[in-house]
């Protein structure tokens, strides 16, 4: 079929034919049996996978934002000195931090909180007091005029032994990893859509080839391409939508039944959907129907072009 004839197709008529239920339009094509089950199954399986890819993409997106936000919202100052000088240098550093533009109220982490930070590494019974642990000061960033480099220079001059850590080294790989995971989720969704389109196209082509004689008869008695194509398009679009709906519901149930991850240390907190995010997977059957519509329409019109 020539390209111009593709463009000349009446999309409005195609849509109306697609939405009209039952009737002779459906009956002009014989039941396609096994390919119908295959289309339903593959659409369902792909939708199921798409739910998880979407959940992964959303969760890693939130994770990246949270890590970036939490780590960028404060800096840590580490004060190392001999035990005799520790308090004096800590107070000097606190003094510098209190007068730093754009910084909030500095907070010296109490010994038990420092011990808590070290517990994952040394175990619960480690006598932290016996270790030369530096004092840790948490400094929230309160304004845009905060100058980490300027503060670093001031600490060097006014509070020797105090080292500023703005979390850049931590933050960059974590956020990069989370963003790449999010990208992988998006790529997975695109691959699932492409694979679905391929499978539906193959199934539609098989059905079209099996019904070559039917198509030939329909053309001979005056059926237009759009009429014949619509019979196949309607059938495969419905199958893709129904299969994807079932797969999506199963996928959403699987996500909803995931155990709560808060108790696992927070690393996986937020995996799945939250709030209005639960509505997003419901778009998957719509997208699957659109993919089925376009893939079958393309296959049908391409084949019809070879039948006079």
């Amino acid at each position: 079929m020539r390209r111009t004839e593709f463009r000349a197709l009446n999309l409005r008529a195609l849509w109306q034919g697609l939405m009209r239920d039952g009737g002779s339009g459906d009956r002009i094509v014989p039941p396609t049996g096994f390919t119908a089950q295959l289309t339903l199954f593959s659409a369902g399986a792909m939708a199921f996978l798409a739910v998880f890819a979407l959940a992964l993409s959303l969760a890693t997106g939130r994770l990246a934002d949270r890590w970036a936000g939490e780590l960028a919202g404060s800096v840590t100052v580490r004060v190392s000195a001999s035990s005799a000088e520790q308090d004096a240098r800590t107070q000097a550093a606190m003094q510098v931090l209190s007068t730093t533009p754009g910084a909030g109220q500095p907070r010296l982490l109490p010994p038990d909180e420092v011990a808590g930070l070290l517990t994952p590494w040394f175990g619960p019974d480690m006598p932290v007091d016996a270790l030369p642990v530096p004092a840790l000061i948490d400094l929230p960033i309160a304004g845009d005029d905060f100058d980490a480099e300027g503060l670093r220079l001031r600490l060097e001059a006014e509070a020797p032994g105090a080292v500023l850590d703005d979390h850049t080294e931590w933050r960059r790989p974590l956020v990069t990893a989370a963003n790449r995971l999010r990208m992988l989720g998006v790529v997975s969704l695109l691959l699932i859509a492409a694979a679905s389109a391929s499978m539906i196209t193959l199934a539609a082509k098989a059905a079209l080839a099996a019904n070559g004689q039917v198509i030939r008869v329909l053309r001979l008695i005056g059926a237009r391409d759009i009429t014949i194509a619509t019979a196949f398009v309607r059938r495969f679009t419905k199958r893709a939508a129904v299969g994807a709906t079932v797969g999506t519901l199963f996928g959403m149930a699987g996500i909803a039944l995931l155990p709560g991850m808060d108790a696992a240390g927070g690393f996986l907190t937020g995996l799945g959907f939250q709030g209005w995010g639960w509505l997003l997977p419901l778009l998957i059957p719509v997208v699957a129907a659109a993919v089925g519509f376009l893939a079958t329409r393309w296959a049908a019109l391409k084949m019809l072009g070879a039948v006079r």
């Binding site: 002779s24 009956r27 002009i28 008869v217 329909l218 001979l220 005056g222 237009r224 391409d225 006079r308």
Partner: protein, 226 residues
């Protein structure tokens, strides 16, 4: 108005030698034509040219005033709605009952099926009792009559029949020809391809029919022997 007009039309399959050449033919409303000639002479090919299933490789040809080479795919569909065809191999959709097969041209052209008119049509071809039968269960004669009913359900201007009596006994052949004669008397143009000369003679006794013969790839008016 000329339904079909061919001027010096030639046709060869796949760019090969011309099976038909220099054919000039005009089909006008209300005429009855026979097309005869030996097997393989090109009778079916000529009919296929008439419903744009094939395109001429040379010459000029119009259908209902339109150059067949310029027809779009939708234009070809529209042409086929004005030309009813009884195919040699009576092509049906075997998954649909006879009544639905007969009504198929209405369905695919988006027209409502008038059940009373459909019943009348099936009665006219003697298939009232077979409305719900599936095509594979019909006899050869029944299939041909069902094909004729399907060919005329859109009330076409031109009816083409390709060897419609090829597999039928004499009585059934005469019965089918009677239906075609009735159609012609109602104003339809009829073109029947057949090599059965006895059938042509029997039909000519009832209707003024022109007999065309394909010989040596050209179209000729048959002689007084017919």
């Amino acid at each position: 108005m000329r339904l079909i007009e061919m001027r010096d039309v030639g046709f060869g399959y796949h760019g090969g030698a011309e099976l038909l050449s220099n054919m000039t033919l005009t089909l006008q409303p209300g005429m009855f034509h026979f097309l005869t000639g030996p097997s393989g002479s090109g009778k079916t090919t000529l009919l296929r040219l008439c419903y744009a299933d094939l395109l001429p490789t040379s010459g000029q040809m119009t259908a209902f005033g339109d150059d067949v080479r310029q027809l779009t795919r939708d234009g070809i569909s529209d042409l086929r709605r004005r030309v009813g065809v009884v195919h040699q191999d009576t092509q049906f959709l075997d998954h649909l009952p006879v009544a639905e097969n007969v009504a198929l041209p209405l369905s695919v052209s988006g027209q409502a099926v008038d059940m009373a008119a459909l019943r009348d049509l099936l009665g006219w071809v003697g298939l009232s009792q077979h409305a719900r039968a599936m095509p594979p269960s019909l006899s050869g004669g029944e299939r041909q009559r069902a094909a004729l009913a399907r060919a005329v359900i859109l009330s076409p201007d031109l009816v083409l029949a390709d060897e419609p009596t090829g597999n039928l006994d004499w009585d059934m052949s005469v019965r089918l020809m009677q239906l075609l004669i009735e159609l012609n008397k109602s104003g339809k143009t009829v073109l029947v391809a057949t090599h059965d000369l006895n059938l042509i003679r029997a039909t000519k006794a009832q209707v003024a029919a022109r007999v065309l013969r394909i010989a040596n790839a050209t179209l000729q008016l048959a002689g007084a022997d017919l």
